[in-house]
């Protein structure tokens, strides 16, 4: 858009707009027809598989969690293995408020979960984001482990290892109650939250702010050189990413009606990282593809053949790392470039 504001006059601006690169740049953030597909599929799933709505809800929450990680990892290039810290913070915020009978209204609870996670993300981001590489990786892991230990030790409030069961969650809008046997409300509620969050993230990454994040990821020195407030941008991005992870965690606590220490586990953080890299990071829809592939395989294969599932997953990850470089969507983009119309979309 800065192209249109160039000082060389309207004619020159129009001439530049005619340039294919300029047009690509401007059109890039426009919604495309295939972007409706995941949502159509999600609604179709609701009617087609009413028996699998609990699985569907888990899937939607995982997509949201992976999407929040994509913002930090895929766009800003913050390599973290501790993102479950924020998932857990959101989950425990919702859980503690509901369990102790302080606040049970679901939507405002989610906002509070986002706030708590954002506060933790901001505070830790201020300190941690000065480091990079292995040090940053370790600091994120240790922060998460510390929160988990804290949740474990505050046994009187958090239930410790056993967690908080049977959370009372008020109906959505005071009308649609969460039924533990039928997940219809949970599914649609999670879908709505995911849609709103996705539109927010999508707007954010195509905004000038999002562009500067990509710049920091691609060339840190140059962004310093052009005078971008790098640390500040990273901290803000980390905070937003933490808030979204907190929403995912809060959603998880509400739809399952329980919280336990697994919300803060390294397993969870590593799994969401795998899901995101599997799908393709830094491309918004990688979170969707990765979560669907991973959870579907886990849900239907792991229950029957746990060892074979682990072997197959291992082989899949190794092959993707060796040959694909950016997950399943990376393969898609490569095939599209090679055999399609010569230009990548995604």
């Amino acid at each position: 858009m800065s192209v249109a504001l160039a000082p060389a006059g309207a004619a020159a601006a129009a001439a530049r707009l005619a340039h294919p690169a300029a047009r690509t740049l401007i059109r890039r953030h426009h919604l495309r027809w295939w972007e409706a597909l995941p949502w159509a599929a999600a609604i179709g799933f609701y009617f087609a598989f009413p028996a699998y709505l609990a699985f569907g809800t888990e899937l939607l929450i995982t997509v949201l969690f992976a999407l929040s990680l994509d913002l930090a990892l895929g766009y800003a290039g913050i390599i973290t293995l501790g993102h479950a810290a924020f998932f857990g913070a959101g989950a425990y915020a919702v859980g503690l408020l509901a369990f102790h009978g302080i606040w049970t209204e679901p939507i405002t609870s989610l906002a509070l979960a986002a706030l708590v996670a954002a506060a933790i993300g901001f505070a830790s981001g201020l300190v941690l984001l000065r480091t990079r590489g292995l040090t940053l990786l370790m600091l994120t892991i240790c922060t998460m482990a510390l929160l988990q230990e804290a949740a474990n030790m505050a046994h009187d409030y958090t239930g410790g290892f056993d967690g908080l069961p049977n959370l009372p969650i008020a109906p959505v809008f005071g009308v649609f109650a969460f039924n533990p046997l039928y997940d219809n409300t949970q599914y649609l509620y999670a879908l709505a939250v995911l849609l709103v969050s996705f539109l927010f993230v999508r707007t954010l990454v195509y905004s000038p702010f999002g562009q500067s994040l990509t710049g920091i990821r691609e060339n840190l020195l140059r962004m310093h050189a052009v005078g971008a407030p790098v640390r500040w941008r990273l901290t803000v991005c980390y905070t937003i990413s933490a808030a979204l992870a907190g929403v995912a965690g809060g959603l998880w606590a509400q739809t399952n009606a329980y919280v336990n220490l697994s919300a803060l586990d390294l397993d969870r953080a590593a799994t969401v990282l795998i899901i995101l890299i599997l799908g393709g990071y830094g491309r918004l829809y990688g979170a969707f593809v990765g979560a669907v592939v991973y959870l579907a395989l886990e849900h239907f294969l792991a229950r029957v053949y746990p060892t074979a599932w682990q072997l197959g997953l291992g082989l899949l990850l190794v092959l993707i790392a060796l040959f694909a470089h950016n997950g399943i969507l990376g393969i898609g983009a490569m095939l599209w470039r090679r055999y399609g119309r010569g230009r990548a979309e995604a």
Partner: protein
């Protein structure tokens, strides 16, 4: 799928270790021997990460593989302890060399994320392969008669095996230090860490150096896996269960610094022992707090060099 229990819940006191004399010297020795095990497993990781800049999360898998070779050789083939350790070293080193040549090499220039994905995938393959070939149960190490019992140290009595571990660890760190500082290949390693391009243009075969270092690191991990089987146990989930501990030691010690890893491992081992004893509630918490503070104070690790 990841392990059902995280390393935080288990910790490393889960082996058969029983603390008998709870005096200061005893605590110190226990912590030192635990730290020594951690050092032997992690030292290869530190060297390869410092040299090649590769995030090898699967390092613990080589320790597990070697540990299995050692324990199974002793329990099923009745090989002696020393011979089994040598066998484990050779097997893990050979496996490391093959994997480095075939797979790892392709990813040296890839991003950290691809390396993370690749090595986590490798861990899963190791876990599944171990379950299929050996079985899901954990393996027990039977110590030779000469290493059992107590040893009179003059000022205190302590388990012979722990003292043996501490001595072995010291010999290993001294040996590696001498090898890096005083031998030709050590000089080549230092040159490559300093400036890979310059080293290559001086005629150092960097590819060969990488393979040798990687194989050696894997072999050391195997020794650590075998020697530490008593503390850490040995089961298919090993590589995931202790991953965080290995990474903490390497990052606190400083990438590529052998002495740094040794000090960090001993420090964490002793602190873990002391805190678990005196503050059983939340003993692991201090390790994380300490790691965070140390890394914030010195992001490159205690003995790591500042990035230029």
């Amino acid at each position: 799928m990841f392990a059902t229990h995280s390393p935080f819940a288990v910790g490393w006191g889960a082996g058969s270790l029983v603390i008998e004399n709870i005096d200061f010297a005893g605590i110190l020795l226990g912590g030192l021997s635990a730290g020594t095990v951690l050092f032997i497993v992690s030292v290869g990781l530190s060297i390869t990460m410092g040299l090649m800049g590769f995030v090898n999360l699967a390092h613990g898998a080589f320790a597990m593989f070697g540990g299995y070779v050692i324990v199974l050789a002793m329990n099923r083939a009745h090989v002696g302890f020393a011979a089994a350790l040598a066998l484990g070293f050779l097997a893990a080193a050979a496996l490391g060399a093959v994997l480095e040549r075939l797979l790892y090499r392709r990813l040296y220039r890839a991003g950290e994320l691809d390396q993370v994905l690749f090595t986590i995938g490798l861990i899963f393959i190791f876990i599944a392969a171990t379950v299929i070939v050996v079985g899901p149960e954990s393996q027990l190490l039977t110590l030779p008669q000469s290493l059992r019992g107590q040893l009179d140290l003059g000022f205190t009595h302590y388990r012979t095996y722990s003292v043996f571990l501490i001595v072995v660890g010291f010999l290993i760190v001294a040996g590696i230090w001498l090898a890096i500082e005083r031998t030709r290949i050590g000089a080549q390693i230092r040159a490559t860490v300093d400036n890979r391009r310059m080293a290559e243009s001086l005629g150092i075969n960097v590819d060969r150096l990488f393979t040798i270092t990687f194989a050696f690191g894997s072999g050391m991990a195997a020794i650590g896996g075998g020697l530490g089987a008593e503390f850490l146990g040995l089961d298919p989930q090993y590589a995931l269960k202790y991953l965080v501990y290995f990474l903490i030691v390497v990052s606190v010690g400083g990438l590529g610094s052998v002495v740094g890893v040794y000090c960090a491992a001993l420090l964490l081992g002793v602190l873990d022992f002391v805190l678990k004893l005196y503050v059983p509630k939340g003993g692991t918490m201090f390790i994380y707090v300490l790691t965070i503070l140390l890394l914030l104070w010195r992001p490159q690790g205690l003995f790591g060099r500042k990035e230029t």
